[in-house]
């Protein structure tokens, strides 16, 4: 019996029009993807493969030209998202920003306060909680970005390059957060170029190239075909 899906994408296509002459560029050329509940799913691929666009369409930030996206959770209230290279409001403090995000989900003041403080602790930003975000380093912004993605205690978490800009300590902390989400039965989908992290964290992976998913399976299946995940990745994308 197949596990229920947290995210199911079928035949997804996305065409954008660029330049003065509105030239059509097909970014996604029929993406099929299924993320089962409680998976830690790695979406891999070279730059320009369509990973970020796939996630944006799944979230409704972009409209699909064709195909279907089905969230296995009850709407965006149960989804958390960290964009790539996140940028937030300069003149808000970390605490104010998380409080703002929590309010967008309609959390009451009591729950909001507890949740914000616990997330600040989890991402190691307690000491900088009152500092304006414009004074945050890239790594700190990445951490506050992860915290805002978790503020609603989501069932499905989509993380776009979550390790970017983090120092080794930050990376360990983010890995712990992802592991803890997995232990708590949540589903995590993340895009990453850091294959060692993918190897360590993911249960399943999909590899994209030029707007299509060209391989999908478990990490063990990948490692059965090549000595390392890097070798397997190179083998698939250069085939």
């Amino acid at each position: 019996m197949t596990e229920p899906s947290a995210l199911q994408i079928g035949g997804l296509r996305k065409t954008v029009h660029v330049g003065f002459r509105r030239r059509a560029v097909e970014i996604l050329k029929g993406v099929d993807l299924r993320v089962a509940e409680n998976d830690v799913f790695g979406l891999l691929g070279p730059n320009g493969a369509g990973k970020t666009t796939t996630v944006k369409v799944a979230l409704g930030l972009m409209r699909p030209s064709a195909g279907t996206v089905e969230l296995g959770v009850d709407g965006l209230s149960h989804v958390g998202y960290l964009p790539e290279n996140p940028y937030f409001y300069d003149y808000l403090s970390g605490r104010e920003f998380l409080g703002f995000c929590a309010r967008l989900f309609g959390l009451d003041a009591g729950t909001r306060g507890d949740r914000v403080e616990s997330l600040l602790r989890d991402v190691g930003l307690e000491a900088a909680a009152g500092t304006h975000l414009r004074k945050y380093s890239k790594g700190m912004l990445q951490r506050i970005g992860i915290a805002q993605a978790l503020v609603n205690d989501p069932e499905l978490v989509l993380l776009d390059e979550p390790m970017t800009g983090l120092d080794p300590i930050g990376r360990v902390e983010v890995k712990r957060i992802i592991e803890s989400l997995h232990e708590r039965g949540k589903t995590v989908l993340f895009n990453s170029h850091i294959l060692s992290d993918v190897h360590e964290l993911c249960t399943r992976i999909a590899i994209m190239r030029e707007g299509r998913v060209i391989w999908t399976g478990s990490v063990d299946e990948a490692l059965a075909e090549a000595p390392t995940l890097e070798d397997f990745f190179m083998q698939v994308v250069t085939a």
């Binding site: 972009m62 709407g75 965006l76 964009p83 996140p86 003149y91 104010e96 967008l104 989509l158």
Partner: protein
């Protein structure tokens, strides 16, 4: 409702803490104080001159804040990609536009209240004139700027922030002149130009109808019934323009 309030509070905090805003307000206060000099060279008309000059300064700097902050509100969110964070949450585009506008209304109220009270106290301290009409004039400037902000937000959903600022200023200037243009075309007795002027008159609100500066300084008599009517029109205009902005913004992809 909760989301609109959250976005409004966030917008208010962001804009009120912006240093550029503080610089503009300081310049405005300096200009208002500059009215002291004008007052001192106008024999027996010191209070009137100070009020007149001060209200022009309040209008000018209020307009700068309205167009430049409103133009950047939506555009900045898109350019800096903070919209990714907002719209990956269950936030509608209409709630976003409404929240942004309400937050900016709060900022504009704080800015104009600061400038208005400062002008009132200055006139009172120097010329002994404690008429509350100065504050009423500032309130009517606020009503005009609400429409300018709504229009600028609408334009910012269509194009760049610079274009939105320029068009926002154009609408304000055209709104100050639209009544005169209509009167002039009536004199010409050309049905086509008169009809065109009517269209412009409806599309671009008649800001001069709620501009009570001249009445406050005693140069004109105030028809409060007309002012109330046009205030209602301007507020309805704001709602329509914001609805259009939300419609346009709903089509946007990020």
């Amino acid at each position: 409702m909760n989301q609109i309030a959250a976005i409004a509070v966030n917008t208010f905090k962001e804009t009120i803490r912006d240093r550029v805003l503080a610089v503009i307000v300081v310049f405005a206060l300096i200009m208002i104080v500059g009215g002291l000099w004008l007052g001192s060279i106008s024999l027996g008309e010191q209070g009137r001159m100070m009020k007149d000059f001060g209200l022009v300064a309040v209008t000018f700097f209020g307009l700068i804040v309205a167009v430049f902050v409103a133009a950047g509100l939506v555009h900045k969110e898109v350019e800096k990609r903070t919209v990714f964070v907002l719209f990956s949450k269950p936030v509608s585009r209409a709630a976003f536009i409404t929240g942004k506008f309400i937050g900016l209304c709060g900022t504009m109220a704080a800015v104009l209240a600061g400038m208005g009270v400062f002008l009132f106290l200055l006139v009172w301290a120097v010329a002994g004139d404690a008429s509350g009409m100065t504050l009423v004039a500032v309130l009517m400037i606020y009503v005009q700027l609400l429409a300018v902000m709504a229009v600028t937000i609408f334009f910012s959903t269509l194009g760049s922030a610079i274009l939105a600022s320029v068009l926002g200023i154009c609408v304000y200037v055209a709104g100050q002149l639209s009544h005169n243009v209509l009167s002039l075309t009536r004199l010409g007795k050309n049905a086509v130009t008169e009809a065109l002027s009517w269209v412009v008159y409806v599309i671009i609100p008649n800001f001069s109808a709620v501009d009570v500066k001249a009445g406050v300084v005693g140069e004109d008599t105030l028809a409060w019934g007309q002012v109330a009517l046009w205030t209602g029109y301007l507020l309805a205009y704001v709602v329509v323009v914001l609805a259009l902005a939300a419609l346009v913004f709903r089509r946007k992809e990020f």
